[in-house]
Amino acid sequence: MAEPEPEPDDDLYELPAWSLSREAGDFIRIANPLPERVDREWALGGSTGKGVRVCILDSGVENGHPLVGPVTRAVAISVGENEEPVATDDLEGDLCGHGTACASVVHALAPEAEIHSVRVLGAGFSGSGRALIAGLRWAVEEGYDVINMSLSTTKPKFAEALHELADQAYFNRTVVVASAHNMPVESLPWRFSSVISVASHDEDDPFVFYANPEPPVEFFARGVDVQIGWIGGGSIRATGNSFATPCIAGIAALILGKHPGLTPFQVKTVLYLISTNVGGADA
């Protein structure tokens, strides 16, 4: 059974943001939500991801796919005149299969987590970087619990905006899980420490995942020869960090389903502590 979680104290945020008086220190006592020993049973035992909103920032998600279930909400993002995100209800489904694939990996691990689709593809490649930023901005402002980003950009001009959004998500308790690049190029946003970055290992068990002692890639999850959902209600086998990423997003959804108040920092800590090569193998 889960221990009762401390409720987040809303008054806390009314304190001055940049300083803390000696007296005020007593008012912001925070109960440590983590037990002395964090193991997999505590972290996610019995969790189905219920109550957790997972956003798939991708090519769209096929609603009602047998391996995905219902998509709670689907929007398509375009970029407005002032670079602001413009969201419209997305009736296209999935343009290429990739978003459905990511959603199916999350759903297999956290079957009761809500799947939300934020489509950032469909405006031509030339606009894809701006659409990615706009989509991430929209998703962060929407306050999702988890955002799965199995995509990246190599354009430095987007770095600042991406960095700000990753930090905004981090402070708003949105866990951003991003695919690491497995080619010798600099790309973003996976390199930011405010997100959780994921690359692939080639074992079959989705619950086998490793913390990387040599970041910037922080975790390795199942990403080789994975059975995934695809457009048309079907399924295929696929390989790529794209599919390792939703594996960690799904596990994060399980953790947050059981411990809703955890911050992205705490979720990453729990992931680390229950990683197969840290404490997870003992559980």
């Binding site: 199995s150 354009k155 079907g234």
Partner: protein, 215 residues
């Protein structure tokens, strides 16, 4: 450098650059080697055409090599489009079981593959195109080593594609009617000259350089 300066540089360089056909041969050799190493049915390189926002088949080995080169599709459709936009490599198998996908790919390639590998071609922070390898034999499950190999080929293809792009820019500057085109033509003519005429040309240009030098 400004665009003008880039164009000038490219135009002058064109005199000593290899012909576009040489780079097309290089691209073709990359897809041929990729196809051979993976034992695949076909391999292709798609070039991203910025002006039309489309992907264009630039080199093809195996099935479709007679018919596909030059064929275009919108830059954000299908697996190649996703790989380009997301800048992330991807390997899919058993895709033929999906009728939508099968039809989609068949329209582009002329046959229905059961599997495909695709990687973005990245150079200087730009996505230049996509490398595809279709129907690798299913002798074993896909491995991380193969993924790395795909990345290596993609890197090689990106370098070749980058060269092709700068040759095209150079040629456009040379063939163009812009102010700088004359410099490109001069450079090209000069490299073709030999003996005393070449020496005279070079001496003349040195004097011109002196004349144009800022005080």
């Amino acid at each position: 450098m400004t665009d003008d300066a880039n164009g000038l540089y490219a135009a002058v360089a064109a005199g000593v650059l290899a012909a576009e056909e040489d780079f097309a041969d290089l691209l073709r050799s990359v897809v041929e080697v990729a196809r051979a190493i993976f034992g695949a049915r076909a391999s292709s390189i798609l070039l991203f055409d910025e002006e039309s926002d489309e992907l264009v088949f630039a080199a093809v080995a195996g099935d479709g090599e007679q018919t596909l080169v030059g064929r275009r599709m919108p830059s954000d459709t299908g697996i190649a489009g996703w790989v380009l936009s997301s800048m992330t490599p991807l390997v899919l198998e058993d895709v033929a079981s999906d009728p939508r996908f099968a039809r989609d790919v068949a329209e582009k390639t002329g046959f229905v593959p059961s599997g495909m590998m695709a990687a973005p071609l990245l150079a200087d922070e730009q996505a230049l195109g996509v490398l595809q390898v279709l129907d690798r034999p299913k002798r074993s499950r896909f491995s991380l080593q193969e993924m790395e190999l795909l990345g290596l080929f993609a890197n090689q293809a990106a370098i070749a594609l980058g060269l092709l792009n700068s040759t095209r820019r150079a040629r456009a500057a040379l063939d163009g009617a812009g102010d700088v085109a004359v410099v490109g033509r001069l450079a090209a003519s000069l490299t073709r000259l030999e003996g005393p005429r070449r020496a005279a040309g070079l001496a003349l240009l040195a004097q011109l350089e002196l004349l144009l030098r800022e005080r």
